[in-house]
Amino acid sequence: MTQVDTPENATPETLDGHHRTPWREYFTFSTDHKVIGIQYLVVTFIFYLIGGALATAVRTELATPEVDFVSRELYNSLFTIHATIMIFLWIVPAGTGAFGNYLIPLMIGAKDMAFPRLNALAFWMIIPGGILLILSFFVSGGAAGAGWTSYPPLSTTGSKAGEMLWILSVLILGTSSIMGGVNFITTILKMRMPGMTLNDMPLFCWAMVAASILILMSTPVLAGALVLLSFDLIAGTAFFNPMGGGDPIVYQHMFWFYSHPAVYIMILPIFGLISEILPVHARKPIFGYQAIAYSSLAISFLGLIVWAHHMFTSGTPGWLRMFFMIATMIIAVPTGIKVFSWLATIWGGKLRLNSAMLFGLGFISMFVIGGLSGIMIASVPFDIHVHDTYFIVAHLHYVLFGGSVFGLYGGIYHWFPKMTGRMMNETLGRLHFVLTFVGFNLCFLPMHYLGLQGMPRRVAEYDPQFATVNMVCTVGSFLLAISTFPLIINAIWSWIRGPQATGNPWKALTLEWQTSSPPPVENFLEEPVLWTGPYDYGIDSFERSDRDRTVNELLAEVKADVG
């Protein structure tokens, strides 16, 4: 009843399939943000598969307590590169680079990003960065094996070539991420269509602003730490080397000053995606728009002052531990606001339980587990027990996999029709969801128990009493590996053969759905008009345009009255 006048119904024939990008375009230095977004998505997904293969190797080794599948050295390299790939080549670039690039200009009614060439450059740095990392397995001494945290002195005593390549790779990826951050902030602040205030923006834009601020504030500090580390590694300086008077704890402070915010750089864009997906498929306005928008900024600010909670058992004085404990716990408040607002959004709606929505709901329920264990480890006395154990491995995967990856999956199902002009297959999508959900919980839930009982993380061998539980985790990880097949098949098959998508198959109200699928080169054939708020579901169109009048004309009326 409310959707009769969407542009999709108004001009269907001008909107369908007219602007399909030729496949060659995806292999060029294209400056079209949509092409770049899809380039990011496909490339980072390939890295995700590589990172997942490494994870499967890690779990295969852990199927038995003994070291029997790979050597100890290789084991350390496997999980180091697994984590580095997952963070720097999948979650960060997929959340910001892929979805940020694809969606931001469309959502704010712009023709492209503010700096299209910078944008393309940022993307094309991902590939050498990733290749360096993977090639490092083949240099003498093997790939870096000091963990993705790369703490000295260990990182300066292992494989020098591997470690150096790791540093180079992360520096390249960090630079790319900074380029992206500058672009997002400028685009969102400067390129919104006329009449769109910050409070008319979709929530994904708010989340990207918050994440980009974090990128700009923290990534340079990581670069600093890594440059100093590389001097220690190859030039024999002693910034972090106690034998020369350096201090390894300084590295930890610098590293976590980036890497704690990094988890919000990963999760904030996903929060944004979820805030887009839920209202569309629940057919209800998002609950608490401003609370969600401002809580992103609050998380961004608080995220900058909690890094030392990763260092409770290392060199942090007692009183400082208390400060970081309280600051960390406070982040639970804005995060809780978001979760409750999402729940209130689905409550009483008319839920369409398609694949996008299933992953959206799966996201909430898995992320909550990671969030609750996060509050627990903020508590210093408890963290002292579980720090550096499998409890942490469980926690971080509930946030990064159950949270970020579920959110990205939801995003893929939701925006695939917009990106490709084709619908995905729902049956395969649901199969993908069920396999992922079951495999994920089988793999990671038991790890909480392992950590509490005494299994440290980053070990190739462990006490035989943990054998059974580890076997369960390994079976879960194989199921997870299998779970990607329905998605891959679905994506490839649907892209080529899937049924044509209309401009707005979900009857959504954000601007990216007001153009064709896929959109034309400059996004909108004619100037888009803001005839509705992004989440005005259930409000009929007359009322909507009435509101629109209020926004645009009230000011003039007031002026007229005053004058």
């Binding site: 100890r72 390894p248 409750f340 729940l343 689905i346 009483g348 440290p456």
Partner: protein
């Protein structure tokens, strides 16, 4: 709001509370609590589990109910009711997490303080580090990297860190002091008062122990899960851990910080025994080390580089982490197997 639904809500709330409380208090997820500090941590953990279970059930409950109750019926193309916000509700669910977090913060602070986390001595230890390794009657005091030589290193000493004495025992010396040295890939425990060196940590039950933890190469972390205690061993600065082991038994000592290829094999045991038994063990160690084996007697450690000095150990340990057994006299070896399995 009609009455039946609020009764249902109330019943659900009561059941939720009971289930959360029961699971929180009987989760059985922690291993044996063998130190005096451990039950405090467990109490905190159980409280957090209770709250977490409640919130978990609440959220999952809302999702599951929504999925069944509010799923779109076939043919229904309408939208849900356009509810965009509700200020009292939003204030309520900002206030609830804020209160929970505040409560947990205070509770955690209490536990941490009782454990000795805020002992000013533990955060401010001017003593220099002498990690001593004694062997076969010949005391080999090895100045370890960064320990005493450079002024920078002694500055770092100003912030020796860890968990210190509980408020009741602050300013008093612990009953037993042990110097702990982490090196790739073993723990070496030295009793400075008697000069005994061992690959196994023996402690008298019910007495306050103080571990002074150092590392010779990379960062390690000493973790005793049954004591709920962990502290990094950081090259160049001492850290400390003070606690009271309570239950007699043998528990694993685990290295929790990635320290190289054999990190997973870097294990030792802590043997908590009655004070008399501990005393007897200490005497037997002293006797054994005086009767001695010949390996290190002739060493003049001053002329050795650190690498040379550690070479005999590194060879054994590096090849086989279990090789540490040979580091201490045969009397102690094999007398304690890990018989504590949770």
């Amino acid at each position: 709001m009609n009455i039946p639904s609020s009764i249902v809500t109330m019943l659900a709330g009561i059941i939720l509370t009971i289930v959360s409380y029961w699971f929180g208090q009987h989760n059985g997820l922690m291993p044996q609590a063998a130190s005096e500090e451990a039950p405090w941590v467990d109490g905190l953990f159980n409280t957090m589990m209770t709250i977490a279970t409640g919130l978990f059930l609440l959220v999952q409950g809302i999702i599951i109910i929504s999925v069944f109750k509010y799923r779109r019926r076939p043919g229904d193309e309408t939208d849900g009711p356009p509810i965009e916000g509700n200020i009292p509700l939003e204030i309520l669910w900002t206030a609830i997490p804020a209160t929970i977090v505040l409560g947990l913060g205070i509770y955690s602070f209490e536990v941490y303080n009782s454990m000795g986390g805020l002992d000013p001595m533990a955060s401010h230890d001017p003593k220099t580090m002498h990690a001593e390794v004694r062997h076969s009657g010949a005391a080999i005091a090895a100045p370890l990297p960064g320990a005493t030589e450079t002024p920078e290193a002694s500055d770092a000493e100003q912030v020796a860190l860890g968990v210190g004495a509980s408020p009741g025992t602050q300013g008093r010396d612990a009953d037993v002091s042990v110097n702990v040295l982490g090196l790739q890939f073993a723990w070496i425990f030295t009793y400075p008062d008697s000069g005994v060196t061992s690959g196994e940590l023996h402690l008298p039950a019910g007495k306050e122990a103080k571990l002074t933890i150092a590392a010779s190469d990379v960062i390690h972390a000493l973790w005793i899960p049954q004591f709920r205690l962990k502290q990094d061993a950081i090259p160049g600065r001492d850290t400390e851990l003070r606690f009271v082991p309570k239950d007699v038994g043998t528990y694993p000592v685990v290295c929790a910080e990635l320290c190289g290829a054999y990190h997973g094999g870097m294990k030792a045991q802590v043997v908590v025994e009655e004070p008399e038994v501990f005393e007897a063990w200490l005497q037997s160690q002293i006797a054994a080390q005086q009767s001695g084996d010949d390996r290190a007697i002739a060493l003049n450690t001053d002329s050795l580089s650190e690498a040379e000095y550690l070479q005999p150990y590194a060879d054994e340990i590096g090849v086989n982490a279990q090789g540490l057994g040979q580091l201490h006299p045969p009397q102690a070896e094999g007398s304690h197997k890990i018989h504590h399995h949770i």
